[in-house]
């Protein structure tokens, strides 16, 4: 596989179509891999997979509770299972099935939540998903990974298959995804990646919104403010060492996420900071616990302070307060 070529191709396609291509590669490696879906083959880019591996593709119809139960049953009989549907239905609709079958019993599968966050804003908040991390974070034995771009999706999906617990992989953004990782790098579930070094402000993000974080850091650099940008791709188990390290080095820590600030990455970071002596101030940027009017991805990012300009302003305002 030519990684460099794929990085470009996948980012053009976006996370969902890339997932379909990645699934083809994984099915080739793992002969015991089964993909289960709830009537979303096309939305998940799985049409080619479905044709190539009809025996390893199970569509349970629009029945997500059953999706998790059947997936857990297959897993308990030794199959490697990836389930997928849109994020709200992959997590909230079947939340108790996830708790009992995957968390409590430890049947192990990988769940792919399609189009999470705000990207489906024109369809309304039935289809946006700003609650999945918070809800799943409270269930033991489930890891939560939010890939920053399709290349990281490839790495996280590949690793999730051999990971000890079930993994929820949360996909954000649409087609023409911003490229966060231009070169190959070491990826381990639970280990954050510092993409840009810096010392004034530490920006921690997860998902494709990291693209906005990187742009914001560039603009701030011109104003002589050095922001580090860290990819917190795994929200659970969270990289405690990295957070402790950053809190020692920085006066301000800014978390940025396409999720409710209650229960998401910002909450996870706050929980770690509360356990240690530190002098850093934590600013959580994300959805401030309200459902806004609907609109496109940029519109919603602006409303929730996630646009490049709003992130820059938030940093500037907080630095001013610090002085």
């Amino acid at each position: 596989m030519n990684v460099q070529n794929n990085i470009k191709l996948w980012s053009n396609l976006g996370m969902r179509a890339s997932f379909g291509l990645i699934a083809l590669e994984l099915a080739n490696v793992h002969s015991d891999l089964i993909i289960t879906t709830s009537d979303v083959s096309t939305s998940a880019g799985l049409d080619r997979y479905k044709q190539k591996y009809p025996d390893r593709y199970i569509d349970v119809g629009i029945a997500e509770q059953n999706l998790i139960g059947i997936s857990a049953g297959l897993s308990s009989e030794g199959f490697k299972v990836i389930s997928t549907t849109f994020a709200p239905f992959q997590t909230l609709r079947c939340c108790e099935q996830i708790k009992v079958n995957l968390g409590y019993m430890k049947n192990k599968i990988s769940m792919i939540g399609l189009a999470s966050g705000l990207v489906l804003g024109t369809l309304g908040f039935t289809h946006c998903c700003i609650e999945d991390i918070g809800v799943l974070r409270s269930i033991p034995n489930i890891a939560i990974v939010v890939p920053s771009d399709p290349f990281e999706l490839f790495k996280s999906l590949r690793e999730s298959i051999n990971y000890k617990d079930s993994v929820y992989i949360r996909l954000t953004a649409g087609i023409n995804t911003k490229i966060i990782n231009y070169k190959d790098y070491d990826f381990t579930i639970g280990k954050a990646v510092e993409i840009v070094p810096g010392e004034d402000v530490a920006i921690l993000g997860c998902g494709n919104i990291l693209g906005n974080c990187l742009q914001a850091a560039n603009i701030l650099k011109i104003k002589n403010i050095n922001c580090s940008v860290t990819n917190m791709h795994t929200v659970k188990p969270i990289d405690e060492q990295k957070i402790k390290y950053l809190s020692k080095k920085n006066k301000i820590i800014l978390t940025v996420e396409e999720h409710n600030v209650i229960g998401g990455l910002g909450s996870a970071v706050a929980e770690i900071l509360s356990n240690h002596n530190n002098n850093s101030k934590l600013i959580r940027v994300g959805i401030n616990d309200f459902y806004s009017s609907g609109g496109n991805y940029n519109y919603l990012q602006d409303i929730y302070g996630l646009s490049v300009e709003k992130i820059v302003n938030t940093v500037l305002i907080n630095l001013k307060h610090e002085k």
């Binding site: 059953n66 009992v100 079958n101």
Partner: protein, 269 residues
């Protein structure tokens, strides 16, 4: 099939159920729903399900899923009679750290395939397990017991639909139709109307039997599934069956057996 052997097995299960419930004391236990399922479970474990003490992890074993997990005393009792659990394990029921709680906890080595009791989930697991058998070309069968109250859960019907859609002729669904649920009669709380027709219309080969007639239970379980078709057995049962005090008396859904009651009902065995 040996009727007297089956009767004996069922009697032992009932004895174990009331013994365990009595030992549980003030913690109380789910009695009515365990006793309504006792004859079905007796026939399953005596003559139908291929599982042995030394081979609880054998890939060819039949899979049993007690979706109405609150009837676990019947399952634990059967596992004791199969020597997979020990009689003294029953005395640990619902004690701190026990493997035997008020709902089954996954323990494949001890013959418990899944943690059940949150209603409406067991048949989905069963569909996954039966699909796996097809994919691995294994001959084992998957038996799932549902409660009738449990059939209030929409997820039950998602999984019945799927069993039929995936042409699972290796799964047998048994509904313990005792006509009661936690707080009263099905007909008053959520009327299931014609349950047999419901399963039929979802595509199951469905029959209705007397769920305490061991010969009928045996025959219905021995019957081969029609090609590409899941099988559903509506077993008409009596909640609390076997003890006059408990029969059709929903106060014994979850209750305490005192020493004097225990002494009295033992006579009925």
């Amino acid at each position: 099939m040996n009727i007297s052997k089956l009767n004996d097995f069922a009697k032992k299960i009932r004895r174990n159920i009331i013994f365990t419930a009595f030992k549980a004391g003030a913690k109380s236990a789910h009695i009515g729903g365990a006793l309504s399922a006792a004859d079905i479970i007796a026939v399953l474990y005596s003559d139908i399900i291929k599982i042995k003490k030394s081979k609880t992890l054998d890939d060819n074993r039949d899979r049993f899923i007690l979706s109405k997990g609150h009837a676990c005393l019947a399952l634990y009792s059967a596992l004791v009679e199969k020597k997979i659990l020990k009689k003294k394990d029953l005395e640990t029921f619902e004690t701190n750290g026990s493997i035997l709680l008020g709902h089954p906890i996954i323990n494949k080595l001890s013959g418990i395939e899944f943690s059940t009791g949150s209603l409406g989930m067991g048949l989905s697991l069963g569909v996954g397990v039966a699909l796996a058998a097809k994919k691995k070309q294994k001959k084992y069968k998957t038996y799932v017991i549902l409660g009738d109250g449990e059939c209030n859960e929409g997820s039950v019907w998602e999984s019945v639909m799927a069993a039929s859609h995936f042409k699972l002729d290796n799964i047998i669904i048994i509904v313990d139709r005792n006509n009661f649920q936690q707080t009263g009669k099905n007909s008053l709380i959520m009327d299931l109307k014609n349950l047999k027709e419901k399963f039929k219309s979802f595509g199951c080969d469905t029959i209705e039997i007397d769920g305490h007639n061991k010969k009928k239970i045996y025959e219905s379980l021995k019957f081969q599934n029609k090609k590409d078709t899941p099988r559903a057995i509506i077993a008409n049962t009596i909640k609390g069956k076997g003890f006059k005090l408990f029969e059709n008396n929903n106060n014994w859904h979850h209750s305490v057996i005192t020493a004097s009651i225990y002494k009295e009902i033992l006579k009925e065995l």
